[in-house]
Amino acid sequence: MSAGTAQPAAISTASRRPRLRVPGAVQGLLAVIALLALLELVTAVGLLPERHFPLVSNDLKTLFDQLSESSFWSAVGETLHAWAIGFAIAAVLGIVLGILIGASEELFAATRVVIEFLRPIPSVALIPLAVLVYGTGIKSAVFLAAFAALWPILVQAIYGVRDVDPVALDTARAFGFGRFQRMRYVMFPSAVAYVVTGLRIASSTAIILVVTAELVIGAPGLGKEINLAQSGNDLELMYALIIATGLLGWALNVAFTWIERRTLHWHPSQRPTEGS
């Protein structure tokens, strides 16, 4: 009964208010253009001091010029390099440890408090230690990124393994699935849902920590370039690099959200909540 009405109900709002339907992406694009135009206007008429806010068009032009500079691309490469290694270390450690801890009551009990204590420690507190032990190069950035990114993956993996629906496990057992098969067909898919989400969170944590390391301790990469641009008072370059860093973070986000959608198409969290 309700199943029959739920879907058409969503269509009805559209039919009741017939209007020109602009696709969401176009609306978003229009809003971006409007915002940029507005910023351009306020800087042009001097509402925002030009000393601090160069024309937006100049920032974008600088960014565009940067795209043909090899130094820009090597900075992007260094940032991504540190991100990738740190993230990979965190992913391997987090998934392996998480599955081991999640699958064993004893290990879970033994590690729970320690993990709960270590997890909220702000990873950036370790920056001075990283400098002492690993110097000011890429190693420090990798260490910080790996340390910070480990926790979301580890915790998600532990809870993913532990949160397997007992009914699903019993069903598998009742149909005579062995221990290994139960792990492969029941525990694994259910834990994957959690791990993939953990990986997405960890990816943005890792990029934050890499940029922080570059900014604070001068590891090579975009963060260091931003710092140099600021201290050299080249504001257009500074803004261009900030935008570039944002775009990089955004691209990583999009990629991981896409992976999450693809992997978890069956999961309740991925079902559309809106009809349109």
């Binding site: 009964m1 309700s2 029959g4 109900a9 269509i11 009805s12 039919s15 009741r16």
Partner: protein
């Protein structure tokens, strides 16, 4: 007539993709009547009920309560939904849930307390006023929803398959409770169900609907004694006959298309 439905049509969407959920409905419900709307699964009962309550605008036709057109839920109408767990607010206690709709009625505190206490006692939940809904069983939760509707002092109560997600024994208890409350509070009830037994057992009048696009198939009086009982009423030959007739209307409409009805029982 208290509630009148005239030429009601509800179509979702437009053009070739449109779905007609309700084709054309005309019927009325009298003061202090118990009317059951029964129809085959997926015949648009919930759509109809949402139109009756003014939660969904009709495409054509209209619903009036005491001659006033219903375009949002009228002041003296209350609703009980099927999914009690989704219509009670989990962050409010039982008492707060029942009192919540009274907020805008600007009653005095004492009056609110009196209304809440009275309706909770009526559904025999006065001991559970300070529990949260999720601490109660399904049947008890639905009783909270009924108490909430009663405290609102409606002239008419719309119930949308209220007992469909309960087990058979709880359902029988709640059916009898509903009959009792109807006498005690003197409220008119429009009760939507897909359960033919339930419809015949509860109703003064059964409004049988057709498949989609929905129309009224037949309206029939239920001349059973007013005092009903799960055992003795259901053993009456009239009950069996009426039940069979409604069953044919709903499940095998072709057999009764010639309108060969037990004429003594029917008033179209």
């Amino acid at each position: 007539m208290l509630l009148e439905v005239t030429g009601l049509n509800k179509t979702y969407g437009q053009g070739p993709g449109a779905t007609e959920a309700v084709h054309n409905l005309t019927f009325g419900v009298q003061e202090s009547e118990f009317a059951c709307i029964v129809g085959p699964s997926g015949c648009g009962k919930t759509t109809l009920l949402r139109c009756l309550a003014g939660l969904l605008p009709a495409t054509r036709g209209e619903v009036t309560l005491r001659g006033q057109r219903v375009d949002r839920t009228p002041d003296d109408m209350a609703l009980v939904f099927q999914e009690y767990s989704r219509s009670l607010f989990p962050w409010m206690t039982v008492r707060e849930n029942v009192a919540f709709p009274l907020k805008r009625k600007k009653h005095s505190k004492a009056k609110v307390k009196e209304l809440v206490d009275r309706s909770l006692t009526a559904v025999r939940l006065d001991q559970f006023a300070d529990h949260y809904p999720w601490q109660l069983s399904g049947g008890m939760q639905q009783r909270v929803a009924i108490a909430r509707a009663l405290a609102y002092e409606p002239a008419i109560l719309l119930m949308d398959e209220p007992f469909a997600s309960l087990d058979a024994q709880t359902r029988a208890d709640l059916e009898d409770l509903t009959l009792q409350l109807r006498t005690e509070f003197g409220v008119t009830i429009v009760f939507v169900t897909h359960d033919i037994d339930e419809a015949v057992y509860l109703a003064d009048r059964v409004i049988a609907l057709t498949q989609r696009p929905t129309q009224v198939q037949e309206i029939l009086d239920i001349p059973l004694p007013r005092q009903r009982d799960q055992l003795t009423t259901k053993e009456l030959p009239e009950f069996t006959q009426l039940r069979a007739h409604v069953y044919r209307l709903i499940k095998r409409p072709d057999e009764v298309s010639g309108r060969q009805q037990p004429s003594a029982l029917t008033r179209a």
